[in-house]
Subunit: 264 residues, 2 copies
């Protein structure tokens, strides 16, 4: 049985609370938040506190607060030499106050408050300065059914950038497709199967092998047609930059000047 104190009340904290609560091998000793109201819904199921000096003994303290608040919160902990882990993709493990043993427990996934999360599907990136602490982190990850990976701070920060590409930026491409379709009264539903299939394909085939389309074929006629169809400058710019990127990846790049002339 791993005894956990959870700190914070955002999306990650709330999803971790639910996962810990339903895990057989995890006991949530306390859930701390400076504003009790945000977690008061759960007061009958777990001990909730807003006074950090009242934190009890536990095997691990999970700090799931915003990146900027992690370091400061770690200095206010009323104990020493216990395992404290944050859940951020970008904060350095050394930003945690060194009076405690330090770790990272970073679930790589997109969290929305409303959408239930299955931790079986979520890889957790673990980091610890000490082998025994890494064991505690792996046990905790396994207790909630997650696959875990030992990842250095630099690797985690790189993953965080990569996650922005495959999540935030991909989602923005969906958004642009939505805008383009709406402008011509096209039902966005038509594009959903393609969105699914694009993500599905990558589970088996590398993105390099999965690529198709006018940029990869260097089909200048279609590219020109598409650029003419796009009405917003921002959409055009993204189209041009990603087309160049695909061409570069697949070795069909044309000299920049020629390209600029052609797209005018």
């Amino acid at each position: 049985m791993i005894k956990v104190c959870l700190l914070g009340a955002g999306n990650v904290a709330t999803h971790l609370y639910k996962a810990f609560k339903s895990a057989q091998d995890v006991h949530i000793v306390q859930w701390y938040n400076r504003d009790l109201k945000k977690i008061s819904t759960y007061k009958n199921d777990v001990t909730i506190i807003d006074d950090i000096s009242k934190l009890s003994e536990a095997d691990i303290y999970i700090i799931a607060v915003s990146d900027d608040a992690i370091s400061t919160l770690s200095t206010t902990l009323p104990f020493e030499n216990r395992l404290v882990a944050h859940t951020s993709g970008s904060v350095n493990i050394h930003d945690l106050d060194k009076k405690n043993r330090r770790g990272v427990f970073y679930p790589l996934q997109t969290f929305s408050k409303e959408v239930p999360i299955d931790f079986n599907e979520i890889p957790i990136c673990l980091e610890a300065l000490d082998k025994n602490d890494l064991d505690i982190l792996t046990h905790l990850a396994e207790a909630i059914g997650s696959t875990w990976y030992k990842i250095s701070t630099e690797q985690r920060q790189t993953l965080h950038v990569a996650a922005v590409f495959v999540n935030n930026f991909t989602n923005q491409l969906y958004r642009i497709a939505h805008e383009i379709s709406d402008a011509k009264n096209i039902n966005f539903e038509i594009l959903k199967p393609l969105i699914s299939e694009t993500a599905k394909k990558i589970q088996e085939v590398s993105p390099y092998m999965a690529q198709t389309g006018p940029a990869k074929r260097n089909d200048k006629k279609t590219i020109k047609k598409h650029l003419k169809l796009l009405e917003k400058e921002n959409h055009k710019a993204i189209y041009e930059l990603l087309t160049e990127s695909i061409k570069k990846t697949h070795g069909v790049s044309s000299p920049p000047r020629t390209r600029k002339e052609k797209s005018k």
Copy 2:
């Protein structure tokens, strides 16, 4: 029973062949390709021909060849006033020779020769100049279990651009994430659940509502950190452009000059 002649031997033609073949209400009269070798595998299951003058009578002739070849092929058809439909996302319906009745049967999906396709999952965009011809196209779409949409040429061409965004460009973002991860010896597997979830979320929630991350929060510190971590200029440029695009969508745009200064 709809009698079909299929023309072409690429990915779309091959997948359509299989779908038509297994559909109860479709009979493939002939499969034409100028190079017989490409379809000779199927010679025991269907009549294959390489002489266009030998095309028999059918309810519909599906031209599934490359965009550039559609128009010319349509002029060589040895008959008049029959229904001829191409399968392209970007070719105008009027590019088909007007000696025949014209239509479009455009399956909006990414096709790889190796990956089997379930047409139940594929929306088909239909266009015809005549109501009766549209009926034939809808029957054909329904016969292979597809959902269909009546789409104008302009809408279809717009959808084709939108498809480039959600498929080719999204896949290139996956590729960049793959490159970034590889450079730091990070297993790309870690990102796959996030890729799946990002596509899955959009099936229920609009891309606007689904957005999260540093750009949407206008989290300048993280954005700066990410730009510093990115080693390739091309990756930096894409990061900056898509970050600006997200900021603009969510009304958190900062003046360009300030942004440029900050990202340095």
